[in-house]
């Protein structure tokens, strides 16, 4: 530590109180160290620009305030959400989350269709995106020639940079006609027996929204998985190969098995994004709150109902119900993100540095 380097020149009886390493030996900025010659030129220069000790402590204090402000903002948002949804909470209680209704004229509200829409689209998107993302990550880390590594990673991350409104527009003009004319009939012909692809198909619906969401969460999952897999030490790979495993067996046993927890964490983060996605979903999901088995049917999600109906919401109960939906979304997203962070932390704290 730099401070200990500085203090080796001082008299043994002189004790330096704890200081952060960026301001070494600053405790006695105003008085020369006992028994030593004049302080170094640098120390002199720094002391002349204001007492190091005060600047030090106030810097630490300001950083603490910044860090606490994050907690304060989140707590404030939560408090305001609960406060403003008190009308709806008083009217419906906790049954709000299990009722299936949305009638602004009659004042009847329930969040169940939206919770269903949010969960169904997000889980379906995960189902489609995870194998693809894992494939991309495995390819980039293990199988890809070094020269292709950078372009593929760059292109995958580019997907994450595209604004969600652009995805929505692409969905409305490209994906919806494709669903209606090509993919839909194909699915109802081949998988119609499952009961998930029946009913009229107009292009918009749960399935289209899931496809768009899966494209949006693919880069998140794949780049995080790639980082986790790179953190697996080479000794693991070499050990498995030395025992006679093939390429795929090495990846499965040596790498994926070790990155299990991290991959789950990455998946949870992708799920977190999918749960909160608004604009792209609201353009292709059909905005008809109902619960149906068919994936061709329109649905609605928590985020898109808030975005659509908030500005014209007349009536206090209506507004309060919308805010309570916001509260539900807030809680779900926080829980998902917390679990994800915990899992990613769990895997990276034990990994040795410099595995590549």
């Amino acid at each position: 530590m730099p401070s200990s380097r500085m203090t080796t020149e001082r008299e043994p009886g002189y004790s330096i109180p704890d200081q952060p390493s960026f301001a070494p030996g600053v405790a006695s900025a105003d008085e020369p160290p006992s028994g030593d010659s004049a302080p170094s030129l640098i120390r002199d220069y720094l002391s002349k620009r204001g007492s190091g000790r005060i600047a030090d402590r106030s810097f630490a204090g300001v950083m603490l305030v910044c860090a606490c402000s994050i907690f304060a903002i989140v707590a404030f948002i939560f408090w305001i959400l609960v406060l403003r949804s008190n009308l709806s909470l008083a009217e419906f209680g906790w049954k709000f989350f299990t009722r299936s209704a949305w009638d602004p004229v009659a004042g009847d509200f329930g969040a169940l269709p939206f919770i269903f829409g949010t969960l169904a689209t997000s889980l379906l998107a995960l189902l489609m995106a995870v194998p693809l993302a894992l494939g991309v990550a495995i390819f980039v880390t293990e199988l890809c020639p070094k020269v292709l590594r950078a372009p593929i990673s760059f292109l995958t991350e580019l997907l994450a940079a595209i604004p969600s409104v652009v995805y929505g527009l692409w969905g409305v003009f490209v994906l919806v006609p494709l669903m209606r004319d090509v993919i839909g009939p194909f699915l109802s012909k081949t998988l119609g027996w499952t009961g998930f692809f029946e009913g009229p198909n107009f292009g918009v619906g749960l399935f289209t929204a899931s496809i768009i969401l899966s494209i949006m969460i693919l880069p998140i999952i794949s780049s995080l998985t790639r980082d986790i897999m790179l953190a697996v030490p080479n000794s693991q790979r070499e050990g498995v190969l030395a025992l006679g495993a093939t390429r795929w067996e090495m990846i499965r046993v040596g790498v994926l098995r070790n990155s299990r927890i991290g991959i789950v964490g990455a998946i949870m983060l992708g799920l977190g994004r999918a749960l909160g996605e608004t604009m792209a979903v609201t353009m292709v999901i059909g905005n008809h709150p109902n619960i149906s088995k068919s994936l061709f049917a329109p649905a609605n999600t928590l985020a898109s109902v808030i975005a659509g109906e908030f500005s014209e919401a007349t009536g206090d109960l209506y507004l309060s119900a919308l805010i309570e939906i916001g509260l539900a979304l807030f809680l779900v997203t926080i829980v998902v993100n917390a679990i994800a962070r915990l899992m990613v932390w769990a895997v990276t704290r034990g990994a040795p540095v410099g595995a590549a």
């Binding site: 107009f202 905005n287 014209e312």
Partner: protein, 341 residues
């Protein structure tokens, strides 16, 4: 130094009260509300500002709900709404508010039927039953009855509605509630309703886009939007039994027909108006002006603006696609303006 600038600026604006009323001290008025009339309002406000230097009227189109909320709280100088305030909203308002009608709007039905290119004749109950899910296919005999000679395919109808709350939905559902008791019971009228069937899209552009690219679909958009985007829309049968294709004249005629029984507070629905030329799905849009304001200078400016609107603004409205107020209603509004104080 910045503070000194501000102080001198304030002093200067206070010193110019000696000039005539139309060019009095710098005034900033804030309004907010409906999105439907935003284009014509912003044109009016900018023209008024260039004719009366120093007077700036700012308008934010945040939606009718927001406009009503803010004017009843007293945070803005005036509001605007596509639907009149309900009795409950007026009772709960902190500020007594007067409705002043400004222009008229209309909602037209649009459709995309493969093989059909002309203007269809649509009976009101047919429209209601399409959105109730009772009429499921295009080759229903009720449609064929009003449109002899048109070859309808036997595909399923996809009804498209507005997923975001809007004045357009209010006008449309108000009309449907009047002509269909089933609709009034099951759905009702509001800026946001529980649609029995169909899919929702965001904004006029969302509905129009969906209808345009989905064969066998049916939707409703603002008249101005349909005109500007050259969409084919249907004629609707009015209360007098005539199928009327929406034009600004037809909309003004609907308001004129209602002028005879206009209540003093202008909170009237003119959908399904009688009269041969009236277009049935029309509506006023209103300014919400506090009846009594503490700031007399602002009230004066508002009154001057409203008079200007009647003298100059209304004639410009039709060039932008909005229907102007009929002359009878303009005369009534002139008298009401005098009651603001």
């Amino acid at each position: 130094m910045l503070l000194a600038f501000c102080v001198t600026g304030c002093k200067q604006s206070a010193n110019t009260t000696a000039t005539p009323a139309s060019q009095s001290s710098t005034q900033n008025l804030n309004g907010a509300g409906a999105t439907f009339p935003y284009p014509v309002y912003s044109k009016w406000f900018s023209e008024y500002a260039s004719a009366h230097p120093g007077i700036h009227i700012n308008y934010q189109s945040i939606g009718s709900g927001g406009g009503i909320r803010q004017v009843t709280e007293g945070t803005i100088d005036f509001g605007a709404s596509d639907g009149p305030m309900t009795d409950q909203q007026i009772a709960e308002s902190k500020v007594a508010v007067m409705h002043i009608p400004t222009v008229l709007g209309a909602v037209v039905p649009v459709y995309n039927i493969p093989g059909v290119t002309g203007n269809l004749n649509l009976a009101p109950d047919v429209i209601a039953d399409i959105y109730l899910g009772k009429i499921k296919k295009w080759d229903d005999p009720r449609l064929a009855k009003d449109n002899p000679g048109v070859k309808f395919p036997s595909t399923a109808i996809l009804p498209v509605y507005r997923s975001d709350g809007s004045g357009t939905t209010y006008i449309f559902t108000d009309f449907l509630s009047k002509i269909s008791p089933d609709w009034a019971k099951k759905v009702g009228k509001s800026t946001s309703v529980k649609w029995p069937v169909g899919i929702g899209q965001k904004g006029n552009e969302g509905v129009a886009g969906m209808v345009r690219q989905s064969p066998s679909s049916f939707g409703y958009v603002e008249l101005i939007y349909a005109l500007q985007n050259k969409m084919t829309y249907g004629a609707v049968r009015n209360a007098s039994g005539k199928f009327v294709l929406a034009t600004t004249d037809g909309v003004t005629a609907a308001a004129a027909a209602a002028a005879a029984t206009m209540p003093a507070d202008y909170r009237v629905s003119i959908t399904n108006a009688s009269g041969d030329a009236s277009y049935p799905i029309s509506s006023f849009t209103w300014f919400l002006i506090p009846t009594h304001s503490q700031n007399t200078a602002k009230t004066e400016t508002l009154k001057n603006f409203l008079t200007w609107m009647l003298d100059h603004g209304e004639s410009e409205a039709s060039s932008m696609g909005y229907a102007p107020l009929p002359t009878q209603v303009q005369a009534m509004v002139r008298k009401s303006i005098a009651d603001l104080h």
